[in-house]
């Protein structure tokens, strides 16, 4: 069935969406099993140890019924799932609020942090990679490559600590943590303050994120600079800049963009650690608190949301592949 030039893409989109939905359901089931298997007792987590001691048996039974302690897991999952589809993810035990509204606030905070880092690391990594590939084996290539390899082995949270030591403790130019200054109402925070508190976490995430994309772009750049059409362009007397602009940029952009969209999972992992160090109130910090505090509904919600982000990123990467590369767009790569 070939209706037009884009039928391949449309078919691909349809197929991908079905696959993503099936994967998301599987993610929710897997997370649900893991969360249910936990020895952490939801009732105990909800009212605390002292509450347990002072609670009458009748009230305990009520709470147990509320949390479905005695309902079979499959039924509990089904209840959760039907609620989730209607937008109700349950109530967070830690925040005493609907999970959806907790996640909404945290998600916005995290998005600001992750998007900043994502754009910076992508852009800088791309440029570093091109420069390194262009000046292969010269000092600048060695410096960039060395930096990338070093960063790739660096624990994210340690880098965060080192940056705190340098900028907050030693130079004292940036705040240590928290996205809001102490003693100030959340609503009264000026934009300047929020930006100040964003700099270090975003810097940490960007620095870590650059390594991967730089190394990949460098490899591609070296490959492409060895192609015959580059040699021919040189022979025609084209300047280095115009060769890069006309022949190299587009070719390298494809793997770079794909990689950057596929790296959302890593950026999210990094943000969990960074948010913890800087007490940044985002999804990652919430996930850690939920895990430590026995807040199963919140943990479950965050798992599904983050998986949606990752699958979405991969999907966009695959789509862009087709839009940027005309061979794939016209060809049958989507079959």
């Amino acid at each position: 069935m070939d209706i037009g030039p884009y039928s391949g893409i449309l078919k691909y989109i349809g197929k991908s969406i079905i696959k993503i939905i099936s994967l998301l359901i599987a993610v929710s089931i897997l997370s649900f099993i893991l969360v249910s298997a936990s020895p952490v007792d939801p009732v105990r987590a909800f009212i605390g140890e002292i509450g347990m001691a002072n609670m009458s048996a009748e009230n305990l039974n009520k709470l147990e019924a509320y949390f479905g302690v005695n309902t079979p897991p499959i039924e509990r999952y089904w209840n959760w799932f039907t609620d989730f589809v209607q937008g109700d993810m349950g109530t967070s035990l830690l925040y005493r609020q609907p999970v959806s509204s907790v996640i909404h606030v945290k998600f916005m905070n995290s998005m600001v942090l992750m998007t900043t880092a994502w754009i910076f690391s992508g852009f800088l990594g791309y440029i570093f990679g091109i420069v390194a590939g262009l000046y292969r084996d010269r000092w600048i290539d060695k410096a960039i490559k060395g930096y990338s390899l070093l960063i790739a082995s660096m624990p994210t949270f340690w880098l965060a600590l080192v940056l705190v030591m340098i900028f907050s403790v030693w130079l004292q130019i940036l705040p240590i943590g928290l996205s809001v200054p102490i003693g100030v109402n959340a609503a009264e925070v000026s934009i300047l303050d929020s930006i100040k508190h964003l700099i270090l976490p975003a810097l940490t995430l960007s620095v870590i994120g650059i390594a991967n994309i730089t190394l990949h772009t460098r490899e591609k750049m070296i490959d492409i600079m060895g192609e015959d059409y580059i040699l021919f362009a040189k022979a025609r007397g084209k300047s280095r800049l115009s060769i890069i602009r006309n022949h190299a940029l587009r070719n390298i952009m494809l793997p770079a963009i794909t990689l950057q969209f596929a790296s959302i999972s890593e950026i999210f992992g990094g943000s969990v650690l960074v948010e913890q160090v800087f007490s940044y109130p985002g999804l990652g910090k919430a996930a850690v608190s939920a895990g430590l505090g026995g807040d199963a509904p919140l943990l479950l919600g965050i798992a599904v949301i983050s998986a949606t982000l990752v699958f979405g990123g991969n999907f966009i990467a695959n789509l862009l592949y087709g839009i940027i590369d005309p061979r794939i767009r016209r060809g049958s790569a989507y079959e």
Partner: protein
């Protein structure tokens, strides 16, 4: 004309240096010995790592305590070594388990037909869909946290990438001419697998296993840092670093700087060992 004093030297004699392969081998040996040394020292350190000495607390790094001491007067070098050796043990265990899972699933996906392949590939997508650190938190949460939780979480979550590699490798091998010819010559399937496939896949598997190490170690440290892993009385690297956070604003920079550096060095060395191993094993790149 007297020429005896000045002889034109076309090619100066150079003392033979190591060739590329020798250099790689040296890296391999250096990395392995260094890591082994950390592990052995950390294991032997024993009680020094947890002995408190209040007459010597908050010391800056100096001769007797190269990494300084903490607020309880514990020697940071001993704690770091001990923590690093624990991390390496956990990393070893986790990589072996993950690699075995990867080998079984990868081989199954490549050989047991399209349906099995589709299921396993789908499963890889599933596991890779949850951000790795979040998956670790979930597994650790399911197991009630603690040492057991972190070991299991790190061990059963690192297989997807290696599974993909092994699957791809076997799929490619199945199409290779020499395998097909061996089949046409009437060799039994068993013989083809043992004689022609395993020698090719095994090195890849070993390299993959070594390269899992750095990931496993970093993830263990991260999980412990977040509070899910080793209990606070253990001198894990993650514990040391998360404790140091409280003392950073007091200017005690040495508590975080050196342990983190050791962790980073260990990860770098494992990468070096894995990379060198790959170069040596693969005849195409052994001389690079």
């Amino acid at each position: 004309m007297n020429n005896t004093g000045s002889v034109t030297v076309l090619q100066k004699y150079q003392r033979k240096r190591l060739n590329q392969r020798g250099q790689t081998l040296m890296y391999l040996a250096f990395g392995s010995i260094f890591l082994l040394a950390i592990t052995v020292l950390g294991t032997l350190v024993g009680d020094i790592a947890i002995t408190t000495n209040f007459t010597q607390k908050n010391f800056l790094p100096h001769m007797a305590h190269p990494f300084g001491t903490d607020w309880l007067g514990r020697d940071m070098l001993a704690r770091t070594l001990k923590g690093m050796s624990i991390s390496i043990y956990i990393g070893l265990f986790a990589s072996v388990i993950s690699a075995v899972i990867a080998a079984i699933l990868g081989a199954a996906a490549a050989t047991l037909g399209k349906k099995v392949d589709a299921v396993i590939t789908w499963f890889i997508d599933l596991v890779m869909g949850i951000p790795h650190l979040l998956l670790l938190i979930l597994i650790s949460y399911a197991l009630g946290r603690g040492t057991f939780g972190v070991v299991v979480a790190v061990a059963i979550s690192h297989w997807p990438v290696l599974t993909r590699i092994i699957r791809g490798e076997i799929l490619q091998l199945k199409e290779a001419n020499y395998i097909k010819i061996a089949g046409k010559l009437g060799q039994s399937k068993m013989k083809i697998v043992v004689k022609h496939m395993i020698p090719h896949v095994l090195p890849q598997f070993l390299v993959g296993l070594v390269l899992l190490f750095p990931h496993a170690i970093l993830h263990e440290a991260a999980l412990t840092f977040l509070g899910f892993g080793l209990p606070p009385e253990q001198p894990g690297i993650g514990i040391i670093l998360s404790e140091s956070m409280k003392y950073l604003s007091l200017g005690m920079w040495w508590l975080a700087l050196f342990p983190g550096m050791v962790l980073m060095t260990a990860v770098l060395l494992f990468d070096l060992v894995g990379g060198s191993l790959r170069k040596i094993i693969d005849p195409h790149s052994a001389q690079e």
